[in-house]
């Protein structure tokens, strides 16, 4: 296999790395960049644990070829908020008990942020519809939905501001 040089932006930082054709974005993020917030769940695009933003849209990094993100902008959960300055979505997950075992949480946060960027005032149904691809095996969906709605309310009333990466 011939390696390919890719240039992309990861959480606001330019990156230039050589990747194998069969390396996945999830492998690059977790193993090369040591950003282990992005989780490996099912590996076949069915659970949402590996979701990241690529050019502002939520993608499943376990089924994206790393070579395909050449020239694009990737934001992982580490790029949403930071230690000491959480994103309103992350604050809301803490406040509303949107976290149980925590494994699905990074994917949930990534999806929530994408939803609120696109639709700042979603209804409960819109939240459930948008997040339907993110599975929580603790089945803690009520807290998660409450968290997204609470973050939306705080952001749209100006009580909280999204933390850009």
């Amino acid at each position: 296999m011939n390696k390919h040089l890719i240039k992309f932006v990861l959480n606001g930082e330019p990156r230039e790395i050589l990747v194998e054709p069969n390396e996945l974005l999830m492998n690059v993020v977790r193993e090369r960049e040591s950003l282990t917030g992005t989780k490996y769940g099912c590996g076949i695009g069915e659970c949402g644990a590996c979701a990241v933003h690529v050019d502002g849209q939520p993608l499943l990094s376990c089924i994206v070829l790393a070579a395909d993100v050449d020239g694009r902008e990737v934001v992982t959960v580490e790029g949403i908020g930071s230690y000491g300055q959480l994103d309103p979505v992350q604050e809301a997950f803490l406040d509303e008990g949107g976290v149980q075992c925590g494994y699905c949480t990074p994917g949930m946060v990534v999806m929530s942020r994408a939803l609120l960027n696109e639709n700042p005032n979603p209804t409960e149904l819109e939240v459930r519809h948008y997040m339907r691809g993110s599975l929580c095996r603790c089945t803690g969906y009520s807290g998660i939905v409450r968290a997204v709605l609470s973050a939306a309310e705080k952001e749209s009333s100006g009580k909280a501001v999204p933390v850009a990466s």
Partner: protein, 314 residues
């Protein structure tokens, strides 16, 4: 690859769960990313049978992870921007790598091609809709495709291009079996075209699945053209009830130039059910599917009729 591969096989799981650790993609292949349709066609002409085009990858990468497919080369369409986008003219032209989500949210699709918007909106999950492309969905030729019945209901035509030329194939002539179509290995899907749809047209898509993110047990897309209290033209397309997405020609014909009432729509549903040829598989039984066809075709026809400006059906 530096990552160690762990083989996990459990008896009885074959064909259901992947035999391989899906944390990595074990298959080895060459990768290229042409910048134009012309370059992509040259690469296809050279590597054709050994290569696969990759757009969204939502099906291909999963198949490769499960080691059901191992192409020697992937030709990525990520940089071929001319394949992306929707052009509304007299009809509608959708570029092959336009995402399913873009189609679902496109204003002209929502306004005039409602069944297609509904089919794309019913698709799996949001990230999959963002990644999956309309051309990939066509080329994949799944009998359970959500977009195919909707496109069939609108008499879609698929534009194919290769190094040796271009051709247009009616979608109704494209599919030949599960995962099979008349598209040659050296051909690329450039776009799918839908003819004009006027205000007198109404359409609807109805899908039955276990939960929304699931593959359909049965899907139906219908389109009717109204003149007063009559349907002058109709299409009824079905998914997941035959080896290919299917047009129920006899059921559609039964509606033509008849006054619309509940009995007419019921009968069209029954005829559509008799035209379907479902199987029993993990998602459903043949009997259930056949019964559901009758119901959802009837319901879809009623929605389409109302959207075409028809009177309420008592």
């Amino acid at each position: 690859m530096t990552t160690e591969v762990l083989k996990v096989t459990r008896s009885g799981d074959e064909g259901v769960l992947p035999a391989t650790n899906t944390r990595v993609l074990v298959t080895e292949f060459e990768y290229s990313r042409p910048a134009s349709v012309e370059e992509a066609c040259s690469e296809l002409a050279e590597h054709g049978d050994d290569a696969r085009l990759i757009a969204g990858g939502t099906d291909l990468i999963v198949q490769m992870k499960m080691e059901r497919l191992s192409p020697a080369r992937l030709i990525s369409l990520a940089s071929v921007s001319e394949l992306r986008g929707i052009t509304a003219d007299d009809g509608l032209t959708i570029g092959a790598t336009t995402s399913v989500r873009s189609v679902a949210r496109s204003a002209p699709v929502l306004e005039r091609y409602t069944a297609l918007a509904e089919a794309c909106e019913s698709f799996s999950t949001v990230p999959v809709m963002v990644m999956a492309t309309i051309g990939g969905n066509i080329r994949n030729a799944s009998p359970a495709s959500d977009s195919a019945p909707a496109l069939l209901a609108f008499d879609a035509v698929v534009d194919l291009v290769s190094k040796s030329g271009e051709r247009a194939v009616a979608l109704s002539d494209l599919f030949t079996g599960p995962g099979k179509s008349v598209i040659r290995a050296d051909e690329l899907v450039r776009s799918v075209r839908l003819p004009r749809c006027g205000a007198e047209t109404g359409s609807a898509f109805v899908k039955v699945a276990r939960v929304m993110a699931d593959i359909s047990k049965v899907a139906a897309a219908v389109r009717v053209v109204r003149d007063g209290d009559r349907i002058t033209e109709a299409r009824i397309a079905l998914g997941s009830v035959a080896p290919t997405p299917l047009l129920a020609m006899e059921a559609a014909g039964s509606l033509r130039d008849k006054q619309v009432d509940a009995a007419l729509l019921d009968e069209a549903g029954r005829i559509a059910a008799s035209e379907s040829a479902p199987i029993t598989d993990v998602r459903s039984t043949d009997e259930y599917r056949r019964r559901i066809v009758a119901t959802i075709v009837r319901d879809a026809l009623e929605s389409a009729w109302l959207r075409a400006g028809g009177k309420e059906i008592s």
